[in-house]
């Protein structure tokens, strides 16, 4: 079970500021990375990079600001499960769209 009384000893103000710094740098990096055309690597590389940064930032916020890092397994599990279920929704919907013969004549 989580031990909330010890929890705040894991984080202190310098650590909070460090995480904050990472988040700010991530934001600025996303902005500038989006202005560079990375399509020469493969189409959609920009989006992948942007999502990569976004997931890193999310991980920072969840692990340290939301104290998941020191939380019981159940909290880890629910955080991961929600992303897993999103993945189910995305992948099983898209497997239809990516394999559908278009047949669209007017839209």
């Amino acid at each position: 079970m989580s031990d909330n009384h010890e929890q705040h000893e894991h984080m202190n103000i310098p650590k909070y500021l460090a995480i904050f710094g990472i988040l700010v740098v991530g934001t600025i990096a996303t902005y500038f990375a989006a202005t560079i055309d990375l399509d020469w690597i493969f189409p959609g590389a920009n989006t992948l990079l942007a999502l990569g940064i976004a997931f890193t930032k999310t991980a920072c916020v969840m692990l340290f600001f939301m104290h998941v890092y020191w939380s019981p397994k159940l909290i880890w599990l629910s955080a991961l499960a929600s992303f897993f279920w999103l993945a189910i929704m995305f992948s099983y919907t898209m497997q239809d769209y990516f394999t559908r013969s278009l047949g669209v004549f007017s839209s």
Partner: protein, 558 residues
């Protein structure tokens, strides 16, 4: 710690203060945080919605007595079947077992004073009332005719009925079931009594837990889908409208992402109740406890992977159809495991045929048929022929009514003595259980044949050669209707004239039978400490079995 012999052995000597007698004002009910009172208010509301849905059902069956659309106009018929579906699914089946039986029993079964979040529980009841009131209001204003599935673009562009109001009602109601699910998960995690380990939980609690997972993960998606539908209908931005770039099939994906798992919201709790009934009334430890428990979780998880089998002919890609067909076949396995384990539990038991057990056995028969016909509908080549026919109608009624409703009735009979402290008439209970079973099969059995013959669902008029089977079905429906009405009468009758039931009329080991009937507001006089395994019918359970046997011996032994 707890003298288990003192309670749970006989009829209370003097009336103690229980949850029903603890305050008689309207305020003491409407502002209660007691999970048992909230469950009773759910019971009353859910029953009213069930009756309203039942009236629509009888109109449907009467209209289909003749091939022509003559009893009601086609427009009315379309509204009737839509509203039958909406009331039964969103306002009866989904809250039925979780919000009534789950609410009442889950805390008692794990030895807690209440659910973890009682105010959230009351809030969920109010949200349910608001959503229900809005829906009823919309139905009285003129109703809705889109089918309960709200397929676009009919619901966004062509229907000129009260789609918005009903959609809003369902949107609001969704949060009620989210909050109930949330509350159950928290309660099971944190509120178990000392000694109540995960594998000592009754299987009803496991089933509720699995159901709650589905509620939390699925219901928000239907909320957002209905919201998009409402926006699209009001302001025409085109997300579901192909003429300006949208895709109507996206709606079906999002709708079924929730609505297929919702089928498991509607049947998993029923499986939980039946696990209780089968084990307790054969007085035998359930066979393969872990397998039944984990198959509930497996159903909840795999249930999210198969929604595309509702869309085999919708224009979804052929590849996606095959993937969904494959996964549908896989999800059949956990249900089969449960079925085998229930049957094995009966082996070498001591089976009594009280009313709840009759419902439990009825469930096994009907759910067997419902589950097997599910395989028919998962086999993609066959389903092309069967989609949107009465075969589908018959299948999901076997699962929904033959599964959940039968289990719900069984559960109500089983725990009625606990909830009210009164015993109903066993004779009438048995009669009604048998009427329901016979009437049900007569109603929906012929519909399998009708479906294979190609009769499409949602038809107000149909080809004449199909009339004979429809007459059988309507005849069965009237038997079913009588069977369903009888419990209302004898259960209400028992409230006033019923014999006091005693705290543990069947000498069962579950925690709910170790407190008084009806239970006190905080469920137990003292916090129970669990020292026995689940479904322990021997002396290890600490119950005074010998004393109970001696009390009944002169009158029961022939």
């Amino acid at each position: 710690m707890q003298n288990v012999d003192a309670i749970g052995s006989g009829i209370s000597e003097q009336p103690k203060l229980n949850y029903l007698t603890n305050g008689f004002t309207l305020k003491s009910w409407l502002l209660t945080k007691d999970h048992k009172r909230i469950a009773i208010m759910y019971l009353i509301t859910v029953s009213l919605f069930f009756m309203a849905g039942g009236i629509y059902a009888s109109v449907i069956r009467l209209e289909l007595l003749t091939p022509a659309s003559d009893l009601v106009q086609t427009a009315t018929y379309n509204k009737v079947f839509t509203q039958h579906g909406i009331l039964m699914i969103f306002f009866f089946l989904i809250p039925s077992i979780p919000a009534v039986l789950g609410n009442f029993l889950l805390p008692i079964m794990i030895g807690a004073k209440d659910l973890a979040l009682p105010r959230i529980n009351l809030l969920s009841l109010y949200i349910y009332w608001i959503g229900g009131a809005l829906t009823i209001y919309a139905l009285m204003q003129g109703g809705v005719d889109t089918g309960w599935t709200f397929y676009t673009p009919y619901s966004t562009t062509f229907s000129n009925t009260y789609v918005m109001a009903v959609g809003l009602g369902i949107f609001i109601n969704g949060f009620s079931s989210i909050l109930t699910g949330l509350n159950f998960i928290v309660t099971v995690h944190t509120m178990r009594a000392p000694g109540m380990t995960w594998f000592r939980l009754p299987l009803f609690v496991w089933a509720q837990y699995a159901t709650s997972l589905v509620m939390i993960l699925g219901t928000p998606v239907i909320a957002i889908t209905v919201l998009l539908l409402a926006i699209e209908r009001t302001v025409k931005v085109g997300i579901f409208d192909p003429s300006i770039g949208g895709d109507p099939i996206l709606f079906q994906h999002m709708f079924w992402f929730y609505s297929h798992p919702a089928v498991y919201i509607m049947v998993l709790p029923g499986m939980g109740v039946v696990s209780e009934l089968i084990s307790n009334f054969s007085r035998k430890k359930i066979f393969g406890y872990e397998f039944i428990a984990f198959s509930s979780i497996a159903i909840a998880v795999f249930g999210f992977l198969v929604w595309g089998h509702h869309m085999f002919v919708s224009g979804q890609s052929i590849y996606a159809g095959l993937v969904f067909s494959f996964l549908t076949m896989v999800v059949a396995v956990p249900s089969a495991i449960k079925m085998f384990n229930w049957a094995a539990t009966l082996y070498k038991g001591s089976i009594s045929f009280d009313t709840p057990m009759l419902y439990g056995l009825g469930f096994m028969g009907l759910f067997l048929i419902g589950g097997l016909t599910g395989l028919f509908l998962g086999a993609i080549g066959l389903t092309v022929h069967l989609t949107d026919t009465y075969f589908v109608v018959a299948h999901f009624h076997y699962v929904m009514v033959g599964g959940q409703v039968i289990a719900y009735l069984g559960g109500i009979h089983y725990w009625w003595p606990k909830m009210t402290g009164k015993m109903y008439s066993e004779f009438w209970g048995k009669i009604s259980a048998m009427l329901v079973f016979v009437g049900f099969n007569l109603t929906f059995g012929p519909q399998f044949i009708l479906g294979y013959l190609g009769m499409p669902r949602r038809y107000a008029s149909y080809p004449e050669e199909l009339q004979v089977l429809n007459i059988f079905s309507t005849a069965g429906a009237s038997v079913l209707g009588v069977g369903m009405l009888m419990p209302v009468i004898y259960l209400l009758h028992s409230l006033v004239w019923g014999k006091p039931a005693g705290d543990n009329p069947w000498m069962l080991p579950g925690l709910e039978w170790r407190t008084s009937s009806p239970p006190p507001t905080e469920n137990f006089e003292k916090m129970p400490v669990v020292t026995w395994e689940a479904y322990e019918f021997g002396e290890e359970s600490g119950l005074d079995l010998e004393g109970a046997r001696n009390r009944v011996r002169p009158s029961t032994v022939a």
